[in-house]
């Protein structure tokens, strides 16, 4: 019986080993990528000591600078638009009781989560190419519109979750005290739902920043964002520069996600 002393009903043989292997396999490639971004040597293959050289090279590359700026402009605009419209939609679809067409609105808002991105990408390519010819406008507006659309569900879901967790008594109290609907919203509802709104905005920002496929199809010539620039670089050879950019982008994402988790954890 001594052999079965540590017998536990929850243990299955080999499971812990496979699980830990999975965790290692999940992180090893990312860690390798990060480590090699600090590689001082000329190529990715040989380790040439710790150095920030490739960060410097990426930083000085005007194409990277422009792509970074463009990525940030698009992500900020798209997240701003998506969060605003998603907040309004969330106010309409939560806490008001069911109404006619609610399910339809819900399905439409979540549609970008369901349609394969490549399908939306070619759809936008077809339509925007025609609009570009017809109007002559080839600016960032197309990318911002496309990004805003697929960011909406990512902004909407945390806001909705926050609203569903809020109770109505404070707002009822405010209107009992003769606050106008606008005052009630501005002074009571909005401050209470703010953590959800910020979380939604951050998620939308990260999703926009990371997008490859739709951007690749919608962008006009010379409108590379960081991810499409990296994809383009890959056609030639992998340079440690791409590792450096990836690591920087990775750092930003992890930072924002950690903040997101802290913000949304407030439900007791």
């Amino acid at each position: 019986m001594a052999k079965r002393k540590d017998f536990s009903v929850t243990r299955l043989p080999g499971f812990a080993t496979i699980a830990l292997t999975a965790f290692v396999a999940l992180y090893l490639p990312i860690v390798t990528l990060v480590v090699y971004s600090f590689n001082g040597s000329e190529t990715v293959a040989i380790w040439g000591g710790f150095s920030l050289r490739w960060y410097g090279i990426a930083w000085d590359n005007t194409q990277v600078q422009e792509a970074t700026l463009r990525s940030l402009i698009i992500a900020a605009s798209a997240a701003g638009i998506a969060t605003t419209v998603a907040t309004m939609a969330a106010l309409a679809t939560t806490r008001t009781g069911r109404f006619k067409g609610e399910t339809l609105i819900y399905v439409m808002i979540n549609q970008p989560l369901m349609v394969p991105e490549i399908v939306t990408a070619v759809a936008l390519l077809i339509v925007f190419a025609a609009v570009k010819v017809a109007t002559g406008y080839t600016g960032l507006g197309y990318l911002i519109l496309a990004h805003a659309a697929f960011c909406i569900p990512f902004a909407y879901l945390p806001i909705r979750a926050r609203l569903e967790g809020m109770d109505l008594s404070l707002e009822i109290a405010a209107s009992d005290l003769y606050a106008t609907p606008w005052q009630t919203f501005r002074r009571v509802t909005l401050p209470l739902m703010m953590p959800g709104v910020i979380a939604g905005a951050m998620l939308a920002f990260v999703i926009s920043l990371d997008d490859v496929i739709i951007t690749e199809f919608v962008k006009s010539a010379g409108q590379d964002t960081l991810p499409t620039y990296m994809l383009g670089q890959l056609r030639r050879a992998v340079t440690p520069e791409v590792n450096a950019i990836s690591t920087a982008l990775l750092g930003l994402t992890v930072l924002m996600l950690t903040a997101f988790f802290i913000l949304t954890r407030t439900r007791d």
Binding site: T21, A22, L33, A92, I105, P116, V122, A123, S246
Partner: protein, 303 residues
């Protein structure tokens, strides 16, 4: 009558909710839904000379998905090249689902059986890669499997192989990449269903002299089945529509449906065929998601 006033109030409420939703729906209509409708229409048109479409109704786009007409004698045969790409897509997506399950089930089990306080951390560790840029993760796995990469260097240093294994630009590379990229999508729903699992059932089974294998097969698997189905669909759907991973790891030759659609709008210059393929992909994905909704509804409100 009070009911008339109620009706007016109800109508005002519905109008208010639709007005509040209108901006979001407008952005979605312009930036996603409207263009998807255009693709549907284009799939029923004739291809233009260089690209684009001619506005004549035609079912050729849909027909060409599966069949081809011989140029010389006009006989109809199966479009082998297309069917090969479909088969590869379906095969790789199913294999991805299987491998993510083989690694994902023990992982989800491991997390769910950790002490309560530590589970959040393990889950966070699963979610971080999930939210990390897909392209970066694909790069990362490329660093591991390419000829001078981590895997080959390690195997050669150990003297197990003399020549680097050519993994990049093969179906295996795409499979490894997709498994890596979509593993969190399998773990999360599996965890959700194992977490609600009543472990006293296992205890009871052991008390009744069931073997471990029997416990796993007769008790655990049937109860966590909804989680397995959910995870499988969540992995299968994006695998089937994958574009970046097969493009980066598979190279030009190992196309999947996503890359094949891209080709029709680029070099292929057959927009109706590309549109029909897009709609077909959408139909398959829609069917899979519908199955998912039905399963999660059956599972109860928590699903």
């Amino acid at each position: 009558m009070a009911s008339q006033a109620e009706e007016i109030a109800e109508a005002a409420r519905v109008r208010r909710n639709w007005l509040l939703s209108a901006p979001a729906l407008t952005v979605l209509a312009l930036g996603a839904l409207g263009p998807l409708m255009v693709v549907l229409i284009y799939s029923f048109l004739e291809p233009g000379d260089y690209s684009g479409v001619r506005w004549n109704f035609s079912l050729d786009g849909w027909f060409q998905i599966f069949f081809q007409r011989d140029i010389f004698d006009d006989t109809v045969g199966l479009a082998d090249a297309h069917l090969r790409i479909f088969w590869r897509s379906v095969k790789l997506s199913l294999l991805t689902t299987l491998t993510t399950f083989v690694f994902g089930f023990p992982t989800a089990w491991f997390i769910a059986t950790q002490p309560r306080g530590r589970r959040a951390l393990w889950l966070f560790l699963i979610t971080i890669p999930f939210w990390t840029n897909l392209l970066i993760r694909t790069f990362a796995i490329m660093e591991v499997i390419r000829n001078q990469g981590l895997l080959n260097s390690a195997l050669m240093a150990l003297g197990l192989i003399e020549q680097p294994l050519q993994i990049m630009y093969t179906d295996t590379a795409v499979l490894i990449g997709m498994t890596y990229v979509y593993l969190p999508l399998m773990v999360l729903p599996l965890y959700a269903s194992i977490d609600r699992f009543d472990f006293t059932l296992i205890e009871a089974a052991y008390d009744l002299y069931a073997s471990r294998w029997r416990v796993l097969r007769r008790i655990v698997l049937p109860i966590v089945k909804p989680g397995i189905i959910a995870g499988s669909i969540l992995v299968f759907v994006p695998s089937l529509g994958a574009y970046v991973t097969p493009r980066v790891l598979g190279g030009g030759k190992n196309m999947m449906i996503g890359n094949f659609i891209d080709l029709q709008f680029g070099q292929g210059r057959n927009w109706p065929l590309g549109s029909a393929l897009s709609m077909l992909l959408l139909l398959i994905v829609g069917a899979a998601l519908l199955a998912y909704v039905r399963v999660s509804n059956r599972e109860g409100p928590h699903g």
